[in-house]
Symmetry: C2
Subunit: 363 residues, 2 copies
């Protein structure tokens, strides 16, 4: 399960193994509910690969359910969310509802005694976050978030090991670029263009970036020092923010700049040239997460520069995604190895704060 | 002289020629004065390659003068700055004084009827800038600045042609990373560690970045929306700011984030992994100015991604540095092709504003 690395020496990176099932077949059953965002497939893949049993699926739209069952054959179809919530065997509900519905759904799941694993962004309003904090305190259930741009990206998982192992010294600054491709605009659901439903670009895809800042820098809280959003080139969908940026200052003095947008050009070989650059007092790391432009369509490139030299570490296929197995064990053992509740909620809070602080600079 | 490019098609980039002498031998004489920063060599190289005659040099330190004359043989040594200012043949004075002395020196040069070409940063205080504005207005002389990280970087010159030719649509955001190597700290002059003399990191090396933002985005003014500086790892030189960052919002809606530091690790093959990423509505450009980490120690890599595809353009040796010839002709013809006075002063003003606005986050 564990990935052991020589943190000071990227060239001799030596994974011990990829994630494997952490439980016996049938030991950990979960359900998938509300399939509004395609991330639900990644959420379920990760859990299944780690040994969880995908028992039941529910969505009000039969077409979404049919497509899901084709991808995950053998999954039982529930006629209502209550059927899932009433099933004592189901320990966790994975969901990718419309963003504005994620908070209320999670509270309902937790009140039914189950852990919740939602697609990001976890909330679109502060009140939802506060309610979830109350319900977590009352039920002792988990409100976990699929921050896929770290948890499901091997070079980001490896970067975490390097940084936390001291490979670049004290983290001074984390810079996150999260460009996304909008693609065929008509193929996206209506909620994608309604700000009250998706929450704004910093709240939505910005949440990945804020979470990474906290994780890589070790900050446990932060202040938003500037934020901006705009609609630069999508006047037909005026509530879509196609650009967003924010600066944060962590409680440990580390700073963060994040930039997100929907401007991936058609000519790029993947959906977005996601980058993270972590500057430390003893070196820096650059991740080219999904592509190495004009060089390779394989992702997971990690560049580590330290006092010893320049290293290009190709991480794809080497470290796997240990988050999912850790999450399963956290649910079974009531531990917080995969991610603490405080971390998930703080990332949620800060992306909401960045969104609230954002000045509108275009559109 | 001119560089003609097919702006929409980076792969077919076709320079017409490198810069050549723009004047006859002896037609444009200049002097070098105050050799405190090594940039004076780049300033003089550029002018000499463009046909200017380096007639005279002055510095109070005979050792600096001797080293300079070895590099530029045949240069006459002046015994005082007045000897240069009194020479009617000398049209321009190139200088790299201690930053806090650059403004006053420039005013003296202009009052003597000559144009001035200073190393960046052009000023360390607002009052110096205001005085220079007054003297420019009164004398009609030029206060030009050697923003070397654009003017003496071929991929940056080429990026300007691409962006201004429309290759990436409307510029939304410019992101500039300017890491520098501090090297052997004892080998640097005392003024390097005295804030009143170097002006602070955003004022000093940040000036390159602010200038590039104005140039690439086309903004003619901007607001500083956040700024921070710190001393993260140099307690022995407490007035050295080893980290700085700032966000600017241009008067045209374009945004800018700049990050500068003195943390280039010993293992990097050059002094700094300078990057600029320009995001547009129709594509983006990334410059890897001085190195392509773990790939190539040759600099000037330009990556252009647009709707047609991903392009890696190796610019080194292909476009030259036309700024210097344009500057000579501007001085002779009283034009503003190389750089307008308004642009140089605005970049100076904004880096002073960023410095003034900066909160201290470490040290």
């Amino acid at each position: 399960m564990a990935t052991t690395t020589n943190a000071g020496d990227g060239m001799n990176y030596a994974p011990q193994g990829k994630p494997n099932p952490v439980v016996q077949p049938g030991e950990f059953a979960f359900a998938a509910a509300h399939l509004d965002h395609g991330h639900i497939h990644g959420q379920c893949n990760g859990l299944v690969e780690a040994g969880a049993m995908l028992k039941t699926v529910y969505d009000p739209d039969p077409q979404k359910v049919a497509a899901f069952v084709q991808k995950f054959p053998g999954t039982r179809v529930a006629r209502s969310i209550d059927e899932i919530l009433d099933d004592p065997e189901i320990k966790l509900v994975a969901a990718a509802a419309v963003p504005c519905d994620r908070g209320p759904l999670g509270c309902r799941v937790m009140r039914a005694g189950k852990d919740y694993f939602t697609d990001k962004t976890p909330f679109t309003e502060f009140a939802q976050l506060e309610e979830a904090r109350r319900v977590v305190a009352a039920t002792k259930r988990k409100y976990m978030v699929y921050f896929s741009e770290r948890l499901h990206v091997e070079c980001a998982m490896h970067a975490g090991d390097l940084v936390h192992g001291g490979a670049i010294g004290r983290v001074i600054q984390v810079l996150g670029l999260g460009p996304h491709r909008i693609g065929d605009k008509a193929s996206r659901p209506a909620w994608f263009y309604e700000k009250a439903k998706y929450g704004g670009i910093l709240c939505d895809i910005g949440s990945h970036q804020v979470e990474q800042f906290l994780f890589f820098s070790g900050a446990t809280d932060a202040t938003v020092t500037q934020a901006a959003v705009g609609n630069f080139a999508n006047p037909d969908t005026p509530e879509l923010e196609d650009f967003g940026e924010a600066s944060l200052l962590g409680d440990n003095g580390a700073s963060n700049y994040i930039r997100v947008d929907w401007f991936t050009p058609r000519g790029l070989g993947t959906w977005g040239d996601g980058r993270t650059i972590i500057l430390g007092t003893k070196g820096y790391i650059e991740m080219r997460k999904y592509i190495d432009v004009a060089r390779s369509r394989v992702g997971d490139h990690l560049f580590l520069v330290d006092d010893q030299g320049e290293n290009h570490i190709e991480v794809a296929g080497k470290v796997g995604f240990r988050f999912f197995g850790e999450l399963i064990l956290d649910c079974l053992n009531r531990t917080e190895k995969a991610m603490t509740q405080a971390h998930a909620f703080k990332a949620a809070e800060l992306c909401l704060k960045a969104q609230a602080a954002a000045r509108r600079i275009a559109g």
